[in-house]
C-alpha cells in the first residue's frame, strides 16, 4: 500500500538526515520526499511517500514521532486529501512530433514553458497518476529529461497540520 506522510520538522541542521537515516537504518523505503520551509521559518514541511503494509507504516509513523526534531505528523492517506506533484519535462519536438506533443500537452493542461527549434520544455502539475499517464501518452516522443518535484499533499477539510 502507498502511504503519504506529512511532517512538520524543526528547521534545524541535520533534521532531514535524521528522517532519511531512520528509513535506511530500519530498511523502510522512501518513494519520494519533498521538503521546504514554511511560513514559520522555524519549521519545515516534509511530504514523504512510502510503501508498506499497515503494520510497517504504523511502525514508521511511531519511529518518526520519536525523532526529537519531528514536531507534528499526519498520515494523509488515512483520510480525504489532495496530492500534487509538479513535473518538468524536456522533449525532442521536431517534425510531426512537434504538433502531436503540443496537442497532448493541451489535453493534459500542461504548459510549454520553453521552446527551441527542436525541443519543448513542459510543465505539468497533478497527482502521480496523471503525470504517469502523460508520460505514457507521449508514446514514441523522444524524452530528453524528466524532473519531478516529489509529492506534496494536504488534508481536505478545515483541519490542518500545525503547531
Amino acid at each position: 500500500m502507498r502511504h503519504i506522510i506529512s511532517i512538520l520538522l524543526e528547521n534545524e541542521a541535520g533534521a532531514l538526515s535524521r528522517v532519511a537515516g531512520l528509513f535506511s537504518a530500519r530498511g523502510y523505503n522512501i518513494e519520494s520526499l519533498s521538503v521546504a520551509p514554511t511560513e514559520d521559518e522555524t519549521l519545515s514541511r516534509l511530504t514523504l511517500v512510502t510503501r508498506g503494509s499497515d503494520e510497517i507504516v504504523e511502525q514508521i509513523t511511531k519511529q518518526l514521532n520519536k525523532l526529537v526534531d519531528v514536531v507534528r505528523l499526519q498520515e494523509l492517506t488515512e483520510g480525504p486529501h489532495i496530492e500534487r506533484e509538479m513535473m518538468l519535462i524536456k522533449i525532442k519536438a521536431s517534425g510531426k512530433d512537434r504538433e502531436e506533443s503540443k496537442r497532448i500537452v493541451d489535453i493534459f493542461r500542461g504548459h510549454i514553458i520553453d521552446v527551441t527549434e527542436t525541443t519543448y520544455t513542459i510543465e505539468l502539475t497533478g497527482n502521480c497518476n496523471k503525470l504517469n499517464a502523460f508520460l505514457q501518452a507521449l508514446g514514441s516522443v523522444d524524452i530528453i529529461e524528466v524532473v519531478r518535484s516529489g509529492v506534496s499533499g494536504i488534508a481536505r477539510g478545515d483541519k490542518g497540520l500545525r503547531v
Binding site: 524543526e10 541542521a13 541535520g14 538526515s17 535524521r18 537515516g21 537504518a25 503494520e55 504504523e58 511502525q59 511511531k62 519511529q63 514521532n65 520519536k66 526529537v68 526534531d69 519531528v70 514536531v71 503547531v163
Partner: protein, 577 residues
C-alpha cells in the same frame, strides 16, 4: 555573569548536579579541561580509553538512575566513544556525551582530528546537537539532560567546536525546559488500564514478563505489589533482573535463550501475558511464529514504538511503568472480582512440574572448577547483596542464572548490544557512585582484555572492585555455538597466548589471585572480600568444556528448549485445567 564557553560548560554541569564526569583530554577540549582544573565541584575521572569513559558513565547511570556524563576530544576521541554510546542506546541508559570538535571555521575542511561526530553517532543516540553559538550552550546542555533522562532514556551527544569554548556570553542556566517537539507520555490511558485489569483477572494461566523498563522507571515496588497481590508467576528479562525479588517463590527465573525451563514453558502455555517495560527482543521471544500461541497480550511501555513492533498486542498501554502500575493497583484493590483460585492452583502445579526439571543443575567434581560454582559461591558469600557487572559471553549467562538479584540496579550488563569490554569500566562507575558497596565484575578472559587498560584507572582512584575471571581459555560462547552448530570446528575461538593475569594485576598495583581447584574457590573469594580497599583480580581456571544450559536454539520456540545433561527428568502428566 559573563563566562567563556568552557566556564559555561563546568557551571552548567554543576547547576545540573553532576557529580562525576568521565573523560580523556585532547586538543579540541583543552579550554574545557582548563576550566575543569579551576573548579572542584565536578569530579573528573581520567580513564585510559574513551570506550572506558562511556562504559563507566553508563555503569554509574545504571547503578544510580542518574545521568552519566562523558567528555572526549574530537576525532579519535569521539570515534572511540561510539561503542559505549551504542551500548547505552540499546539498553536505554541516560547519558550525556560531550565531544570536542574542531573550530567552527574549520568544520568540513578535513581539519586535524575532525570527524562528523553528529553524523557518526546519529543512529545510536536519542538525540544529538552541534553547538553553533556560545549563547546556545547552556540551553543545549539543559535540553540534553532533559532528553536523556525522560521518556525512554538514552544517550545524547553534544558536539562543541573549540572556538565556542573560548567565546564569552552572559550565563544563566535554565531551571526547566519545555520542547514543542518532545513531550513523553507519562500517564496511561485509564480505559486501557481498566481493560487490562479485567483481562488479568479473567486469566486462567497468567504470566507476567518484565524488562529493563521497570528498572528505568523505578517501578520495582509497584511491580512486586502487583505480582504478589495477584499471585501470578513473574519472569524477568536479562535487563530486568532485580525488578522482582529473585528468591521469591512467584519468580520463575529469567526467560529467553538461556532462561529457565519453567519461565519459557509458562510463556508458551500462558493464556494472558502482561508485558511491562520490555520489548520482545529476539533473544527473549525465540521464533516469533511460535511465540505465546495462546496468549492475549497486554503491553505497558513508555515508548509507543516498542508496542506491536515485533509481536502484535491486544491491549497497548503507553505510559511510565511506575505510573501505570500504580493505577492498575488502585483498580485491582477496588475490584470485587479476584483471580480464579482453582485455575491458578492448577497452573502453579504445572509450573512446579517444570521447576522440578531443575534445568540449571550442574555437578561440581573435585578436579575442575565449574564456572557456575564460582558465581553461586559469590552469591552465597555476599548474600546476594553485591553490585555485579558482567561482560558478554557464557559467564554473563551464568552470572544472570546463578546470582539471585533481589533488588534493582544491582545487575549491570550490556544486554542489547552485547559489548565485550563493558564489565570492568561499568564497575568503576558503580564503585564511584557507591564507594562502600561491594562491586564485583564477572568476566571472561577474552572480554576482560578488551578494556584491560582501565586497571590503571582503578589504581589511580583506589577503586576496590573485585574482578572474577571465569577463565576457560576459550571465547566460551563462540566455542559453544561452534560445538553445537559447526561440528566442533573451533575456528579462532581459542584464546592463545594469554597473559599471566596475576602478574598483570600486580604490575598495575592490584592483588592478583590464581584459583585452580574447586576446593579453593570459597576460601579465595572470602579472602578477596576482606580486601576492602584494594582491587583484587581473581583468575579462576574453569572447566573448558562447560556449556550454558538450558538453551533455545535458533528457529525454536519457548517450548523447545535444549536441556543440559544434569537436569532431572520429571514426567509432566498433570493436564491443564
Amino acid at each position: 555573569m559573563v563566562l567563556t564557553g568552557a566556564e559555561i560548560f563546568t557551571k552548567s554541569l554543576k547547576d545540573e548536579g553532576v557529580e562525576f564526569i568521565f573523560g580523556y583530554p585532547g586538543g579540541a577540549v583543552l579550554h574545557i579541561y582548563d576550566a575543569l582544573f579551576k573548579q572542584e565541584k565536578v569530579k573528573h575521572i581520567l580513564v585510559r580509553h574513551e570506550q572506558g569513559a562511556t562504559h563507566a558513565a553508563d555503569g554509574y547511570a545504571r547503578a544510580t538512575g542518574k545521568t552519566g556524563v562523558v567528555l572526549v576530544t574530537s576525532g579519535p576521541g569521539a570515534t572511540n566513544a561510539v561503542t559505549g554510546i551504542a551500548t547505552a542506546y540499546m539498553d536505554s541508559i541516560p547519558m550525556v556525551v560531550f565531544t570536542g570538535q574542531v573550530a567552527s571555521e574549520l568544520i568540513g575542511d578535513d581539519a586535524f582530528q575532525e570527524v562528523d561526530a553528529v553524523g557518526i553517532t546519529r543512529p545510536c543516540v536519542k538525540h544529538n546537537f552541534l553547538v553553533k553559538d556560545v549563547r546556545d550552550l547552556a540551553t543545549t546542555i539543559k535540553k540534553a539532560f532533559y532528553i536523556a533522562s525522560t521518556g525512554r532514556p538514552g544517550p545524547v551527544v553534544i558536539d562543541i567546536p573549540k572556538d565556542i569554548t573560548a567565546e564569552r556570553c552572559e550565563y544563566s542556566y535554565p531551571k526547566a525546559i519545555t520542547m514543542r517537539s518532545y513531550a513523553p507520555t507519562v500517564k496511561g490511558h485509564p480505559g486501557q488500564i481498566k481493560r487490562a485489569v479485567d483481562l488479568l483477572l479473567n486469566a486462567r494461566r497468567p504470566m507476567i514478563y518484565t524488562g529493563g523498563g521497570v528498572i528505568a522507571a523505578n517501578g520495582n515496588k509497584e511491580l512486586t505489589r502487583l505480582v504478589q497481590m495477584l499471585g501470578y508467576p513473574c519472569t524477568n528479562t536479562l535487563m530486568g533482573l532485580g525488578a522482582y525479588p529473585a528468591t521469591d517463590p512467584l519468580f520463575v527465573g529469567m526467560l529467553g535463550m538461556h532462561g529457565t525451563y519453567e519461565a519459557n514453558m509458562a510463556m508458551h502455555e500462558c493464556d494472558v501475558l502482561l508485558t511491562v517495560g520490555a520489548r520482545f527482543d529476539d533473544r527473549v521471544t525465540g521464533d516469533l511464529n511460535k511465540f505465546c500461541p495462546q496468549a492475549r497480550i497486554i503491553h505497558i511501555d513508555i515508548d509507543p514504538a516498542s508496542i506491536s513492533k515485533n509481536v502484535p498486542v491486544e491491549i497497548p498501554i503507553v505510559g511510565s511503568v511506575e505510573t501505570v502500575l500504580t493505577e492498575m493497583l488502585k483498580m485491582l484493590e477496588a475490584s470485587k472480582k479476584k483471580p480464579d483460585a482453582d485455575a491458578l492452583k492448577n497452573w502453579w502445579h504445572r509450573i512446579d512440574d517444570w521447576r522440578a526439571m531443575e534445568c540449571l543443575n550442574y555437578e561440581q567434581n573435585d578436579v575442575l572448577i565449574k564456572p557456575q560454582y564460582v558465581v553461586e559461591t559469590l552469591y552465597k558469600i555476599t548474600d546476594g547483596d553485591a553490585i555485579v557487572t558482567s561482560d558478554v559471553g557464557q559467564h554473563q549467562m551464568w552470572a544472570a542464572q546463578f546470582y539471585k538479584f533481589n533488588k534493582p540496579r544491582r545487575w549491570i550488563s550490556s544486554g542489547g548490544l552485547g559489548t565485550m569490554g563493558f564489565g570492568m569500566p561499568a564497575a568503576m562507575g558503580a564503585q564511584l557512585a557507591y564507594p562502600d558497596s561491594l562491586v564485583a565484575c564477572i568476566t571472561g578472559e577474552a572480554s576482560i582484555q578488551m578494556c584491560i587498560q582501565e586497571l590503571s584507572t582503578c589504581k589511580q582512584y583506589g577503586l576496590p572492585i573485585k574482578v572474577l575471571v571465569l577463565n576457560n581459555r576459550y571465547m566460551g560462547m563462540v566455542r559453544q555455538w561452534q560445538e553445537f552448530f559447526y561440528d566442533r570446528r573451533y575456528s579462532h575461538s581459542y584464546m592463545d597466548a594469554l597473559p599471566d593475569f596475576v602478574k598483570l594485576a600486580e604490575s598495575y598495583g592490584h592483588i592478583g589471585m590464581l584459583i585452580e581447584k574447586p576446593g579453593d574457590v570459597e576460601g579465595a573469594i572470602k579472602e578477596a572480600l576482606k580486601q576492602k580497599d584494594r582491587m583484587v583480580f581473581m583468575d579462576f581456571i574453569t572447566d573448558q568444556k562447560e556449556n550454558v544450559f538450558p538453551m533455545i536454539e535458533g528457529g525454536k520456540g519457548h517450548h523447545e528448549m535444549r536441556l543440559g545433561p544434569c537436569s532431572a527428568v520429571v514426567p509432566t502428566d498433570r493436564e491443564l485445567a
